[in-house]
């Protein structure tokens, strides 16, 4: 379970209790009362903002949080991998593949030749060291969702000796007002979607030579596959959802997270086949900051308000157990029920679901 950010919201137990009860109504009343449970914060997005990168994007949400992502690709010498070489030699020796066929395969098919280490993600958050828990976990969650399809790393393959090394630098320009995972993921998605690599002019295992015309550059995520179909993969995007009582709320803000029962980060990629909706590539639960909020003291346990203070901690615990439904703030405990995870994931990936909306919105930025 990934840790939540260290910065705490300064809300009293009474405020937390109020917020929770309004969020668990049907329909829920959110902190920004103009928004429904599935509404995201409005954003300003732009791409190709940095001239010295292969792809870049900036997204600013209306609460002032802002992220900038630069994707930079560099040619790197591949390490010699004996198992890949060995397999090729064997197949030639066995005589079942003749040379011409082998060459053709090599130039077109780089399936399974990519390596995870060719993609490097770094997350920088002001006020955090780069080995703090938050940036490290955010980076690993983003890497995990990006590597899951396996198609991206295969596209970084140039030839047996060289490959592209993709460096993705994610900068949160503002302090992390809410859990920044969704914002960072959307910005990365947009940057990758608009990233281009120079067109390769050399052939096979030559030293790579590239077309110096930037207009001829090929997109990192091609718009259509080799046969002209729309059967291509797209970068994943992570959606943050939280559960409060019976309700599921998307894109929670910091105060809403402070009363969450459970928080889920769901990474979705648009599916290859256009007929079905997006598919889930990874799911993580996130430790909600509500677990760390201080519990309220009910009148019955407070000697200042006429109650009787419990004599021992064991007694206090029993009394608190009985309080759960009384509206006195007690930090939520426990994890997520399977049924809840099922509901959240179907809300995300169903046709017309949240993931489809987000992906379509980000796609529209690039097109429009």
């Amino acid at each position: 379970m990934a840790p939540s950010q260290a910065a705490q919201v300064n809300l009293s137990p009474a405020e937390l209790s109020f917020l929770r009860s309004s969020l668990s109504q049907t329909p829920p009343i959110r902190l920004d009362n103009t928004k429904g449970p599935r509404d995201f914060r409005s954003m300003v997005a732009e791409y190709d903002v940095l001239p010295s990168t292969n792809g870049s994007a900036r997204i600013a949400l209306d609460d002032g949080t802002e992220a900038l992502v630069g994707v930079k690709a560099e040619v790197e010498k591949s390490l010699w991998r004996p198992n890949v070489e060995g397999r090729r030699a064997l197949s030639i020796a066995a005589g079942d593949v003749d040379m011409t066929d082998d060459d053709k395969l090599e130039s077109h098919d780089n399936k399974g030749k990519g390596q995870n280490s060719w993609i490097e993600i770094s997350v920088e958050i002001p006020g955090y060291r780069d080995d703090d828990a938050l940036p490290v976990f955010l980076a690993s969650m983003l890497t995990e969702s990006l590597l899951s399809s396996g198609e991206l790393k295969d596209r970084l393959y140039i030839n047996n000796r060289f490959h592209w090394k993709l460096g993705i630098d994610i900068l949160l320009l503002s302090p992390p007002l809410s859990y920044p995972l969704a914002l960072l993921s959307m910005t990365t998605h947009l940057a990758l979607l608009t990233a281009h690599l120079p067109a390769l002019k050399s052939e096979k295992d030559e030293d790579p030579l590239f077309d110096d015309d930037w207009d001829a550059a090929v997109p990192l995520y091609p718009k259509s596959d080799s046969s002209g179909g729309a059967n291509v993969d797209k970068p994943p995007v992570i959606v943050l959802a939280m559960a409060v009582g019976p309700n599921i709320i998307f894109d929670p803000c910091k105060e809403e997270l402070a009363v969450a029962d459970a928080v889920l980060a769901i990474a979705c990629a648009p599916s290859n086949a256009s007929s079905t909706g997006p598919r889930i590539v990874s799911i993580r639960t996130i430790d909600p900051p509500s677990h760390l909020t201080p519990p309220a003291v009910p009148n019955a346990m407070n000697s200042a308000t006429g109650g009787v203070a419990p004599a021992s901690t064991a007694e206090a615990l029993t009394q608190r157990e009985l309080l759960s439904a009384s509206g006195v703030w007690t930090p939520p405990r426990g994890g997520m029920k399977r049924d809840l995870i099922k509901r959240v994931s179907s809300m995300v990936v169903d046709k017309g679901g949240v993931a489809e909306e987000v992906i379509a919105a980000l796609q529209a930025i690039e097109v429009g």
Binding site: L50, P51, S52, T53, S56, A60, D62, D63, G64, T65, E66, L68, G70, V71, K72, E74, S122, E124, P126, G127, D130, G167, D169, L171, L173, S174, P175, L177
Partner: protein, 290 residues
């Protein structure tokens, strides 16, 4: 002798390239291709040749011209103050947090009587020519220290006891004059944050152009880019607004004593122009509220 020969070859080659760019129809006089003393070769020959020819620098500027400066103020809603500054291809984004209670539990704020100024500089991995993860190295620490001491004396810190003012600088693109760009961006962000200070702190870089074999006079150059910074001795000077009061002065390269004065003069003159530009940005922003 072999090294001298190499340099001369290099020089001719580079000259011919830049020659075509600046003055296509004029043959370059081949005077200093041979018999040149090695002592004069300590600076890169690249700048020497083109600059002495047409008195134009590598990017076509004259000696006293600043690069294109574009600045914005209040770029981010979440920060107390923010700014974005471009000096040529150097791009810096600055946000200010505070005056606020400090982060560290032990030393919240500084002394009883004044605020502490903390500076955090982050080089983005994509800011340079090659992607490099830059850990906080000595140069960054020194820049942070320079900024923090300069602003501690400039800001009216006694108004905010027990508190911290945090400057966060993101360097998005590097092309010379890093420290100067950081100072200018910080000034704008601090103005946006409304933290009282006595005057604008503005900074510029100045260098002294390389000399040729036949003449020993060198021009001072204003506002260097990355290439020039690598080739020429330069200094960064920061002054307080319109006055000639120097607040920041850093020179890390060896330079002849008698050239220092003209470099400083040009730098200070550049700072005055920089102040006009930044002042224009602030006033333009202020018009929105009138």
């Amino acid at each position: 002798m072999t090294t001298a020969g190499k340099i001369v070859n290099n020089e001719i080659h580079l000259q011919s390239i830049h020659h075509q760019q600046t003055q296509p129809h004029q043959l370059h006089p081949p005077e200093h291709s041979d018999g040149e003393p090695e002592t004069k070769k300590q600076e890169m020959p690249l700048d020497t040749s083109t600059y002495s020819l047409a008195l134009l620098r590598l990017d076509g500027r004259r000696w006293n011209e600043l690069r294109r400066i574009h600045a914005q103020i209040n770029t981010q809603a979440a920060a107390d103050g923010s700014s974005y500054l471009e000096m040529g291809n150097t791009k810096v984004l600055c946000t200010v947090t505070g005056p606020a209670e400090g982060r560290q539990a032990g030393q919240r704020g500084a002394k009883d009587n004044e605020a502490k100024v903390e500076v955090e500089i982050g080089f983005a991995g994509f800011s340079g020519l090659e992607r490099r993860k830059r850990k906080s190295d000595k140069r960054t620490l020194e820049m942070q220290h320079t900024l923090s001491t300069a602003y501690s004396s400039l800001l009216l810190t006694h108004l905010y006891p027990h508190s911290t003012i945090t400057l966060t600088l993101h360097i998005l693109s590097q092309d010379g004059s890093m420290l100067a760009a950081c100072i200018n961006a910080s000034t704008l962000a601090l103005i946006d944050a409304g933290i009282p200070m006595s005057d604008y702190l503005v900074a510029c870089t100045a260098a002294s152009s390389a000399t040729t074999s036949d003449s020993d006079n060198s021009d001072p150059l204003l506002d260097l880019n990355n290439l020039e910074e690598q080739e020429l001795p330069f200094l960064t000077v920061g002054t307080l607004g319109r006055s000639d009061k120097v607040s920041v002065l850093i020179c890390e390269s060896r330079v002849r004593m008698e050239r220092m004065e003209s470099m400083l003069a040009v730098g200070i003159d550049g700072c005055k122009r920089m102040r006009e530009i930044l002042d224009g940005v602030v006033k333009e922003y202020g018009k929105r509220f009138s």
